[in-house]
């Protein structure tokens, strides 16, 4: 008998990389996050083989969720082929044995940075958003400790004041992506730096959204069928990015979120940001229903204020039969 024969084989890594302690901690926190929609639950946040700021928060949530039966999709800026998305997808699959896909319709777990897919997510799907700054109050209150007190008291006046100052100075809100929302009428929440185009998709959605900030160690959630409202004034309603005149240069598709591609001659092309949706459209493959229809109307009528004067007048005079109660 030799020592080498007696010695146990070395297990290279735990299933899904995280050790059992880390998984249990995160799982406990996730359940609380879902029970308190929009509230930032602190968690320990382990180091993973990825630099901080590159999606360690999203990755930890995905690793705590993933099982061999899952089908994982990872996107960055809407693109499955972006190097960081490809890298994450490869890592998750390697550590969990889960299958991967780029097709939104086939995925059970979708980890994303800065986008929500155009096709509507269904009730069995979970969306994990990577979050760089979880604190929506950071702009008005840099200390997380004091911001926590403001959340405790639901004291959000300064945020509306900031919006008001924007309107005085610029006649329009200056916030681009990461536009703050009020969840279940209680917690102000940073939706992660998704474009404003994606904000309404969180409202009364069919799917569960989990948001995780690895560096800042916060996890929070928007359950399905939850009220998610933008910070706005009734006379200056929230508006999504205005890309009404834009069309995808390859497919001609309009009324989906676009990326601008500056050209050498100073001109610009527009490309669908959701690359897998673009792939299906270009190939003439069937797609799922999308959050915004071919005319750019959001699927919850009345959630977004009408944009043209004619539409506005029409609504003022007759109201919208589909308007949700305020």
């Amino acid at each position: 008998m030799r020592l080498a024969e007696l010695a146990h084989p070395r297990q290279d890594y735990a299933y899904a990389f995280l050790d059992a302690f880390a998984k249990r901690e995160l799982r406990r926190r996730l359940l609380k996050a879902v029970a308190i929609p929009g509230y930032q639950v602190p968690y320990a946040s382990r180091e993973v083989p990825l630099a901080r700021g590159w999606g360690t928060g999203g990755l930890q949530v995905t690793l705590a969720l993933v099982g061999p039966e899952d089908v994982v999709k990872v996107i960055d800026q809407g693109d499955d082929q972006s190097v960081n998305a490809a890298n994450l997808r490869r890592f998750i699959a390697r550590m969990s044995g889960a299958r991967t896909t780029t097709d939104t319709a086939l995925a059970t777990l979708i980890q994303s940075r800065h986008r929500i897919p155009e096709e509507m997510l269904g009730p069995v799907q979970i969306l994990v958003l990577q979050v760089p700054y979880p604190e929506p109050l950071a702009r008005v209150e840099p200390s997380f400790a004091r911001a926590r007190e403001l959340h405790a008291d639901a004291e959000y006046g300064q945020v509306w004041l900031g919006l008001y100052e924007d309107l005085v100075r610029y006649r329009t809100p200056t916030q681009g992506a990461d536009y703050p929302v009020l969840v279940h009428g209680r917690y102000l929440m940073a939706p992660s730096p998704i474009p404003r185009w994606d904000n309404p998709k969180l409202h009364q959605a069919q799917h569960l959204t989990l948001l995780s900030a690895g560096r800042e160690k916060r996890v929070y959630a928007v359950p399905p069928f939850t009220e998610v409202r933008p910070v706005e004034f009734s006379d200056v309603p929230f508006e999504v990015e205005d890309q009404r005149g834009w069309a995808d240069w390859q497919t001609g598709v309009r009324h989906k979120f676009m990326t601008e591609l500056p050209q050498a001659d100073g001109d610009c092309r527009y490309e669908l940001s959701d690359r897998d949706y673009a792939r299906k459209r270009a190939a003439g493959l069937p797609t799922q229903p999308t959050y915004y229809n071919e005319e750019g109307r959001f699927y919850h009528p009345g959630y977004l204020a009408p944009r043209t004067p004619a539409e506005r007048l029409e609504r003022l005079l007759h109201g919208s039969p589909d308007d949700l109660p305020a």
């Binding site: 180091e47 901080r52 400790a145 205005d242």
Partner: protein, 367 residues
């Protein structure tokens, strides 16, 4: 466009790593062994910031990353995540450290003497160019003779004990907290104000450069600390464990361990009388720059004046090497969606400005 390849992203990643290996980080066992033996300070920095004492793996991490410290630290931190915590060692007792260096700036002479130990502090900073041409013969330090040696490395007294004996400082309380109950920022998130145990743990893992920058700003007057190094100590500490069946206490081996104490200006003590205050920091490995700066920040963090180094949250959040470096380089990732959204807001604001200018111009014309 260039770095979001429509296809072939994975192949490009593989080739990029291969190119890195060729240009920046060749790997072979001999190199790793050599790094371990030749560069203990570098290892110590990686191990302390990586929060994992494993010289062999620190050397591997350095070789694998071509010496990129932040990447090496990340490798250790990530590896740490994969291993189970088997036990808590018994706490290091300062009184029984195997001390190899202990100096104080507070006094000319101190009980036990100034022990320089292994240091370059007082050497001439001249490149030894001879080392490029021929092998430098190994140096063997001259020991004192056995008969004349009254030095006990495990019994080197503490300067602070002297202050305490003289009533200049309150007595040091004892803390009976058992290992598993000590607050641990790797197991629960750091919330502010942090328990002192988490603060000291955060400082032991902190980024040398970050701690130095904040400590240095404080030293230069952006803050109210006028520090005196009470003591810097380099030592070996035993990792003491208990036999699970019999309870016997034994050492699993020795690790390099260092600590620093910094004195501040006196302030009112708990008994109302003015008293000296000590800042403290310790880490795995020997890194005096970091520990002096960190000990100073420890003393500064609770002061009321509005300097960054006086805010615990500011200091501990911004000296975390893995978070700070990782977030910094994440800006290399594409941001065209958010930027596009910002552009939209800009265009709208510009359109409003144009409309207003035109409106006022046409108002002028009508007048």
């Amino acid at each position: 466009m260039a770095y979001v390849a429509a296809r072939g992203g994975e192949a490009a990643i593989e080739r990029a790593e291969a190119l890195y290996r060729r240009l920046l980080g060749p790997l072979d066992p001999g190199l790793v062994k050599g790094l371990e033996q030749a560069l203990p300070h570098l290892l110590d920095r990686v191990m302390s910031e990586g929060s994992l004492y494993a010289p062999e793996l620190a050397a591997l991490a350095l070789a694998q990353t071509g010496g990129d410290l932040y990447e090496a630290v990340l490798l250790l931190r990530a590896y740490r995540t994969t291993l189970p915590r088997l036990a808590y060692a018994l706490p290091i007792e300062p009184e029984v450290l195997f001390t190899v260096r202990r100096v104080s700036a507070a006094f000319k002479d101190i009980p036990g003497g100034q022990i320089l130990g292994p240091t370059l502090d007082y050497s001439h900073r001249l490149l030894r160019l001879g080392g490029l041409q021929s092998d430098v013969p190994p140096t063997v330090p001259e020991p004192v003779s056995a008969e004349n040696c009254d030095f006990e490395p495990q019994q080197v007294p503490f300067v602070a004990d002297w202050h305490r004996q003289n009533g200049l400082m309150p007595p040091r309380p004892t803390d009976p907290t058992p290992g598993p109950a000590i607050p641990d920022l790797t197991r629960e998130p750091l919330l502010f104000p942090a328990p002192r145990a988490q603060r000291l743990q955060a400082l032991s893992r902190a980024d040398t450069g970050g701690v130095l920058a904040l400590g240095y700003a404080n030293m230069r007057g952006y803050g109210a600390i006028h520090p005196t190094v009470n003591e810097v100590r380099l030592a070996y500490a035993e990792v003491r464990l208990q036999h699970p069946a019999t309870g016997a206490v034994f050492s699993a081996g020795r690790v390099r361990y260092a600590q620093a104490e910094v004195l501040t200006k006196f302030r009112p003590g708990p008994d109302g009388k003015p008293t000296l205050e000590l800042g403290f920091a310790a880490s795995l490995g020997w890194n005096e720059v970091k520990l002096i700066a960190a000990a100073m920040l420890d003393a500064a963090m609770d002061l009321p004046e509005p300097h960054p180094a006086h805010t615990e949250e500011f200091v501990l959040s911004h000296t975390e090497p893995v978070e700070a470096s990782g977030f910094c380089i994440h800006y290399k990732l594409p941001h065209y969606v958010t930027f596009g959204s910002d552009l939209d807001a800009l265009r709208k604001a510009r359109a409003q400005a144009v409309a207003e200018q035109e409106a006022s111009r046409s108002a002028e014309v009508t007048e």
